[in-house]
């Protein structure tokens, strides 16, 4: 790891202020010379690999604001502080009962050791595992803007088929984010310019021409809270994760479903796909296909067709389209059959 300075502020204002006072404060967060670190399981890894090269690390793990560490359930929904550990959320009874898709997405993510250390805010913002991004000897537009993309014509079995651009096809690898999309969550942020709230589905940005710009956040902006609105029908929600081995692996394809059923018909449904797209992906075409009708193998199959109508595979990842379709059908039927 390259040497760097280290600050451990006690307040949110100070943490954001340290970054705001720097010359390159307007840089997209991944390129900023000052970086926040929460649990550090992503940042320490990428600093060791030389992918992240901050001059200054701002440790937010010990910020005093108790709201950052709280899980608050109320009739309006549930609010998760950005510093809540993945393992705390996964074990929380309100989450397990009311929002099973969250607990399932977390339980199947990483390992117990990592979930004990990792924060929810850091999980949402974790960076891709694209092998060419991780190995600094390769060209990568996301790591070094304008240098090219080694994955495009390289070994791209794990890469995305949805939301790709001709600059970057890296998969978004987190699991929890798909649950948040399916639950219509929003995030609250703080910066020296004040607080703002945005739909979680708007947080991540498609790679387009600028794959190094990954979210709507500014370098001096911190995620403080994740807000999940109450939805009685969220009890019927589920996360299906397909991986190369049964445990401790990133998704090859995953599906989060939140389903509102009335007399066997779909009153409402939210579907998000993971492991298949460059950002946490809402499969709205599939939702539209299902709304108002029955949910069975045939209608689920039609929804799965719709979800991948715009898929753009490269040389080694076309299998993800059929795998993704089958995963979507299975996840829908399993969610339908849940006893709630």
């Amino acid at each position: 790891m390259r040497p760097f300075g280290f600050e451990r502020p006690e307040t949110l204002e100070r943490a954001a202020g340290i970054v705001a006072a720097r010359e390159d404060r307007a840089a997209p967060p991944p390129l900023s010379s000052a970086q926040f670190i929460a649990g550090g399981t992503n940042m320490a890894d990428y600093m060791k690999l030389g992918v992240m090269r901050p001059n200054l690390l701002v440790d937010i793990g010990r910020l005093a604001d108790p709201g950052l560490r709280r899980i608050a359930a109320s009739p309006d929904g549930i609010r998760l502080g950005a510093l809540v550990r993945m393992s705390e959320a996964e074990e929380n009874a309100d989450i397990r009962i009311g929002y099973p898709v969250i607990a399932e997405s977390l339980q199947q993510a990483a390992s117990q050791q990592i979930r004990n250390m990792a924060s929810l805010g850091g999980n949402i913002l974790q960076r891709t595992r694209c092998e060419y991004f991780r190995d600094i000897s390769w060209a990568c537009n996301k790591r070094d803007p304008g240098s090219g993309c080694a994955a495009m014509d390289g070994f791209n079995r794990q890469h995305a088929v949805l939301g790709v651009s001709d600059r970057c096809i890296a998969t978004y690898h987190g699991d929890f984010a798909q649950a948040l999309i399916a639950l219509d969550a929003s995030v609250e942020t703080q910066s020296p310019r004040g607080g703002r709230t945005m739909a979680f589905s708007e947080l991540h940005r498609l790679p387009g021409e600028t794959p190094h710009v990954e979210t709507q956040l500014m370098a001096d902006e911190l995620i403080t809270l994740i807000d999940i609105p109450a939805k009685p029908w969220a009890r019927r929600s589920h996360y299906l994760k397909i991986r190369d081995r049964q445990s401790y692996a990133f998704a090859v394809a995953s599906v989060a479903v939140v389903l509102d059923l009335e007399d066997g018909a779909v009153r409402d449904v939210r579907i998000a796909l993971g492991g298949l797209a460059t950002v946490p992906w809402r499969a709205q075409e599939a939702e539209d296909e299902l709304k108002g009708g029955p949910l069975d193998e045939r209608t689920a199959g039609r929804a799965a067709e719709a979800a991948f109508a715009g898929a753009m595979p490269r040389e080694h990842n076309a299998f993800k389209i059929s795998l993704g379709r089958q995963a979507l059908v299975r996840a829908l039927l399993e969610t339908r059959d849940m006893r709630v």
Partner: protein, 161 residues
């Protein structure tokens, strides 16, 4: 620039001068001279570096030493009661052939200790879920799972962790 960091390691309070870029794993092994905790992959994949930090098992290769400021750390060196007095879990790993080359063993023992503290009566699938982040290239896991279940059985008979 080095920073002074204090932490409690295996019951003993220590203060070390460490550069901020040093991981807890390297701090324990180099500055702390505790080489029982192993470095397998150094990127969070293998679990060989598992230590218990403030009661929770973590990968010490993904924690910066400075992040452990004020923390209580347990490593494999703190587990046995004395020379030739293995910890209950170590004893069961020997009895059941749960260790072959032994490289993964310190991490798995720390993981097991954390599991049994929370849940002294785990099912086989709970054991497998708990140690999913610990890779073993020798045993095929069956004997490790046997050893963990045997340790749990002895716990229920009144032995302590």
């Amino acid at each position: 620039m080095k920073r002074l960091v204090s932490m409690t390691v295996n019951g003993e309070e220590i203060e070390l001068a460490i550069p901020p870029y040093r991981t807890l794993l390297d701090v324990l092994r180099n500055e702390g001279r505790l080489t029982g905790t192993k470095k397998g992959c150094d990127v969070g994949d293998c679990g060989a570096c598992t230590v218990i930090m403030d009661g929770s098992p973590v990968n010490s290769c993904l924690v910066l030493g400075i992040e452990a400021e004020g923390a209580t750390i347990e490593t494999i060196e703190g587990q046995h009661a004395g020379p030739d007095l293995p910890h209950l879990i170590q004893e069961k790993f020997m009895d059941h052939g749960g260790a072959q080359c032994g490289f993964c063993t310190p991490g798995i023992i720390m993981m097991t200790k954390a599991l049994l503290k929370e849940n002294p009566n785990p099912t086989e699938s709970e054991v497998r879920f708990a140690i999913a982040g610990n890779i073993c290239r020798c045993t095929g896991y069956a004997k490790i799972v046997d050893a963990v279940l045997a340790a749990a059985e002895d716990l229920r008979k009144g032995r302590t962790l």
